[in-house]
């Protein structure tokens, strides 16, 4: 059994709809796993089930071969960082970090040593006598992290910890979290709706939708080979075309044109959806009878920095294309699109 194991977890707040539908998730020791998904997908609920803040209606939750399903929050020994940080306003930074150790009735000098050491690691030593409202957002975030880590928890749970920080700080904090997580080797569950953040930090990502995990894989695998249409859409596959299976790796589109997909074919159904990122479609000249091409009319042009994005009207619907060539196409101009067969994913 994996280190952390959620088995058939079901949660419903009322009888009408389940927030989590028989969710299964296994996490190995020392891994950093992200729960990624839009708001309302159940990722925070999953984290709260793990923390013990929500008791599941059905299912079993194990950590290190120990069934914790019915164990109350305060006996689980998990460190949790909340979206609002939840620092105690009436206590100093030192007292905030020492809170968990005091609850464990540790010896005073041990508490002092452990807290000061943790404040050193997180770069907060000079603020130990201040109150939370005297600190900046990034500093508060580090206090919350220090407070969760000082109790030497079995699991570290992070609930969108970076969402209240500005963009620059967010990037440096996520490196910091990863560094601390690696050096302590602590198994971590990270909840986020930001795919870039999630891909950069995680060993594994669980993409969630409507209370189920749609795909649980490494960030690289998910980025390149989404398994479902939802996952594909969520991580930036903007273009979808309906295809009928013709033979090995070959498919027929609705307008009769032929498409090849040499990407790992996941679907064996007769009717599938081909999906491709705007970056993987090229605008080409002279396309005579080439497969995987599609002609259309350029509509809207948007400047993205390193490329222009075009919305192209084709027989198979509107497609988004990122073109890095120096040429610009005018609205209404005819263009030919080439869909790279290695990047055309079937869902």
């Amino acid at each position: 059994m994996a280190f952390v194991d959620l088995k058939d977890i079901r949660v419903s707040y009322d009888t009408k709809q389940d927030v989590l539908k028989d969710l299964n998730l296994s996490i190995n020791k020392g891994e950093l796993v992200s729960l990624l998904g839009p708001s309302g997908c159940g990722k925070t609920t999953t984290l709260r089930v793990i923390a013990g803040l929500i008791e599941p209606n059905d299912g079993e939750f194990n950590v290190d071969e120990e069934n914790l399903t019915k164990v109350p929050v305060h006996k689980r020994n998990f460190g949790m960082v909340f979206q609002s940080y939840a620092l105690f306003p009436h206590l100093t930074i030192f007292e905030n970090v020492a809170f968990g150790l005091k609850m464990r009735k540790e010896n005073k000098t041990i508490i002092k040593n452990k807290v000061m050491q943790m404040l050193e690691v997180t770069g907060l030593a000079e603020f130990s006598n201040r109150y939370p409202k005297q600190l900046s957002g990034g500093q508060r975030q580090r206090v919350a992290l220090a407070r969760a880590l000082v109790i030497e928890p079995k699991l570290l749970l992070l609930d969108e910890p970076l969402s209240n920080l500005d963009a620059k700080l967010r990037i440096s904090m996520r490196m910091e979290i990863k560094r601390i997580q690696r050096s302590l080797g602590i198994t971590t569950v990270f909840v986020t709706h930001d795919q870039e953040e999630c891909f950069s930090i995680s060993d594994k990502v669980a993409v969630m939708n409507n209370g189920v995990i749609e795909q649980f894989d490494s960030p690289e695998e998910i980025y390149a080979f989404p398994k479902t249409e939802f996952v594909a859409r969520f991580i930036g596959f903007e273009n979808f075309i309906t295809l009928n299976k013709l033979g090995e790796e070959s498919y027929l589109a609705e307008d009769g044109s032929k498409f090849y997909s040499t990407a790992k074919t996941i679907s064996n159904a007769d009717k599938v959806k081909g999906t491709i990122r705007p970056d993987d479609i090229q605008i080409i000249e002279n396309s005579e009878n080439l497969d995987n091409t599609l002609s259309g009319e350029a509509l809207v042009r948007t400047f993205l920095g390193k490329s222009y994005q075009y919305e192209v009207k084709t027989a198979l619907g509107h497609l988004l294309v990122n073109d890095e060539s120096l040429r610009t196409y005018q609205t209404g101009e005819q263009v030919t699109l080439y869909l790279n067969p290695a990047k055309l994913i079937l869902v």
Binding site: A51, H74, F78, G79, M103
Partner: protein, 259 residues
């Protein structure tokens, strides 16, 4: 801030209308004549001394003080846990309960007083002091629940959750995390309930009896028979007491935080 002279035209008369009667009371308390008149003739502090000599004002003052403090403390003891339950737990009838606890502030004081009289004095035959205390406890409770409840609603629930994850039980969390962070609300609710109880007439009127009359009630009956500046002097002293308490609230919390 933007200056608006036409607004002043309205504001100034309103303030005069509000404060002139109070001003007149203050002035009349220093008059030498044994009737309340304005303007006054001569100057004396005798009426202030008189407050401590006649009409049983001093006894009533101590009674009112005792009742107000005890009733408010009792209301805190019941009201804080009640406010916590209402704000943190979902249970059937929660909204109804919320409304119910606020009802004595909506129902006219005389109605509350009379129904308490009917229930406490006539039906239950509860001793006078206990009855008076119960009555004041009931009129204090809504203030506590309302003010403490709004402090609790402003307190981030994840503070408590964080405390649980750090190894605190729910009870320990209540004392170590919740109470310290709503202390200003508790203090404010105490002051409000105290002032309200101390100045209350309708409930006290119904629940008093021989030898046990609250100060406002004593004052009322005194006015019926003696219309002299002692009343003005006592009113001034009560105003000063209330103002003192209000200043205390303002100094410690700011009045804005409780309105």
């Amino acid at each position: 801030m933007r200056k608006n002279n036409s607004l002043k035209l309205i504001v100034i008369p309103v303030f005069i209308f509000l404060f002139l009667p109070l001003f007149i009371i203050i002035v009349t308390s220093f008059g030498e004549k044994p009737t309340i008149q304005f303007p006054i003739e001569g100057f004396t502090l005798d009426w202030y001394a008189n407050v401590f000599r006649v009409g049983g004002f001093l006894d009533s003052f101590w009674l009112s003080l005792r009742i107000a403090i005890l009733a408010t403390l009792l209301a805190l003891l019941v009201g804080i846990p009640a406010a916590y339950a209402i704000s943190r737990y979902k249970f059937p009838g929660r909204q109804v309960l919320k409304q119910f606890f606020l009802s004595p502030t909506i129902i006219p004081g005389v109605v509350v007083g009379f129904s308490l009289f009917q229930f406490i004095v006539i039906t239950m035959q509860i001793p006078l002091f206990t009855g008076l205390l119960l009555g004041h406890f009931i009129i204090s409770l809504p203030y506590i629940i309302r003010v403490v409840g709004s402090s609790l609603e402003q307190l981030d629930v994840s503070l408590e959750e964080a405390s649980w994850t750090l190894g605190c039980t729910k009870q320990e969390t209540f004392f170590k995390v919740v109470l310290p962070n709503i202390s200003s609300g508790i203090y404010a609710s105490f002051m409000l309930a105290f002032i309200n109880s101390f100045n209350n007439i309708p409930v006290s009127q119904f629940l008093t009896g021989p030898g046990l009359t609250a100060l406002p009630t004593t004052l009322m009956s005194y006015i019926e028979y003696n219309y002299n500046p002692t009343v003005s002097a006592l009113s001034v002293m009560l105003m000063l007491l209330t103002i003192g308490l209000m200043v205390l609230i303002e100094k410690t919390l700011g009045l804005a935080s409780i309105s």
